[in-house]
């Protein structure tokens, strides 16, 4: 396994775009981790009615928001919530969707029908509504937001993974594994999911941005992360009010999202290629 990581990284190093992405996202993550040391102001609560809506300057790198808070500080701290949100929901829904999709694809038949109909059902309920209902049912808060977003995302993964699995089970190595008496779960995770990694990774990186944005649209509806914890999506929605007076309020969290998404996608593309030992160069 150690070998594998090294190997994957070695392959990824050759992909310039992926490396740039990796550097950027690492920087963003480091910023998030060390936010307390980096940020010039105490985060979150510190508000100041005298310093509202100041444009970017040397004291306030990204300006201040409607509550007189330093936007730079909030963007840095927002990375925590937003990235966690994007990554955790993606991870859980990828795993959940992965397992469901893999089972549906691998066993086929009735189980397949059942799983897919259930997922259809969830998919039939529009994303936003599902999230809204769950948040309405369980109350808002980041935990429930996570659940909501995750559930709405599971069918998407499941569908894609099922399709991939269907093509993988055609391979003889699955049969070879069966011939050795390998148990089903081992076949699924070691032989099937491992080979479905490419599409999963790509879907996952795309999904991270979708999740952050879904959280943002939920904050647009007032269902986002609990304040004052800054979160990029919510910051964007809050900045909406000041769109015309203080456009920079939107630019910085927006740029943070775009940058993370861009770099994550670059990394995702690179990772997909690197994970696939078959791809040359």
């Amino acid at each position: 396994m150690k070998q594998n990581f090294k190997e994957i990284f070695r392959r990824m190093k050759k992909n310039k775009a992926a490396m740039i992405g990796l550097v950027i996202i690492t920087l963003i993550i480091l910023t998030a981790v060390f936010a307390d040391f980096i940020s010039p102001y105490e985060y979150g609560i510190k508000q100041n009615s005298k310093e509202r809506l100041l444009p970017p300057s040397s004291t306030h790198l990204f300006g201040t928001d409607g509550n007189g808070r330093d936007v730079f500080t909030r963007v840095i701290h927002g990375a925590r919530t937003s990235l966690t949100l994007g990554l955790v929901t993606t991870l859980i829904s990828a795993v959940g969707g992965g397992v469901l999709g893999a089972c549906a694809g691998y066993y086929g038949g009735r189980l397949d029908d059942f799983i897919m109909r259930v997922l259809d059902t969830i998919m039939c309920i529009p994303n936003m509504l599902l999230a809204l209902s769950i948040v309405a049912a369980l109350g808002s808060g980041i935990g429930n937001l996570l659940i909501a977003i995750t559930i709405s995302n599971i069918p998407v993964f499941a569908r894609i993974i099922r399709a991939v699995v269907l093509s993988i089970v055609e391979n003889d190595y699955i049969e070879a594994a069966k011939a050795c008496g390998t148990r089903d779960w081992r076949i699924i995770h070691r032989h099937i999911l491992k080979n479905a990694m490419g599409p999963i990774v790509i879907q996952a990186t795309m999904s991270i941005s979708k999740m952050i944005l879904l959280a943002a649209s939920l904050s647009f509806l007032g269902l986002g992360v609990q304040p004052p914890a800054p979160e990029w999506g919510t910051m964007l929605s809050e900045a909406r009010e000041f769109m015309r007076r203080a456009p920079y309020l939107m630019i910085f969290p927006g740029a943070a999202i775009v940058l993370s998404v861009l770099s994550l996608n670059l990394v995702g593309d690179g990772l997909r290629d690197a994970l696939d030992p078959r791809l040359k160069s």
Binding site: D120, M128, L129
Partner: protein
Amino acid sequence: MIRYVLKRLLLMIPVLLGVAFIVFSVMSLAPGDPARAILGENATQEQLDMLNTQLGVDQPFLIRFGTFVVNVVTKLDFGLSYNSQRPVFDEIFTRFPYTLRLAVLGVIFSSIIGISIGVFSAIKQYSPFDTISTILALFFASVPGFWFGMMLILLFALQLGLLPSNGLDTVKHYILPTLSIAIPYSAGILRLTRSTMLETVRQDYIRTAKAKGVTEWVIIWKHAFRNALLPVITQLGNVFGQLLGGAVVIETVFAIPGLGSHIVNAIRMKDTPVVMASVMLLAFFFCLVILAVDLLYAFVDPRIKAKYARR
């Protein structure tokens, strides 16, 4: 083929029932009662009780669900909106056309933009065009819809005064909302088109076509693109489904009386009949869209058609 369609239509029943059950239970489990939402902050307890009894929300869950299903199945009656006391379907059907039109336009434009650019950047893989379009796509995939809508409004409605900023009265009114929907979605379609095209142009039959001396254009659109279409159609189906119920933000920003924002309001007001009916309607359409997508597969790919025919 017809048998297949019938079977699929039949399979919609459990799905719709499932949707109904889930939404109904969520609506019942959610805290807050509709009477409070309707009567507002200042209501007294008597008023609340009175209204709740009138609305029938004090009955046990299963009975309410049962009644709901029976009414829907036997009379296609979704009841009255708690909130407005109007028949739910009247309310929905005044709004649904807007949503449907926007969704259709959104899908059309996002596919036109996404597919054409996607195909082109696949052909010119690694060219500056490809790089730029990929970056732009990722950019548009990561800006929230409302931002885009608001920028368009500021630019075209306020600064230039070219286009109206709200409502859907004339053709002109459709331009900005359609763009705000289409562009972010086209980003996803673009990426998908690009990757499937890259996959397809590597296939042997493309080489066969080239060896026949077929022109580039025909190879791209007739041979490669049609084969790359399947995943793109799936994606378009998903987009369509999402747009049917999900363009809430765009509806709000452009003051469009669509279904999305109506449902959101209904959820907030705990207006179960409205939520039920709208989601069921959406689910119904979504199922139809999925079915249409599957039938479109058959139209595009004769192998799939053969599979359906045999079922």
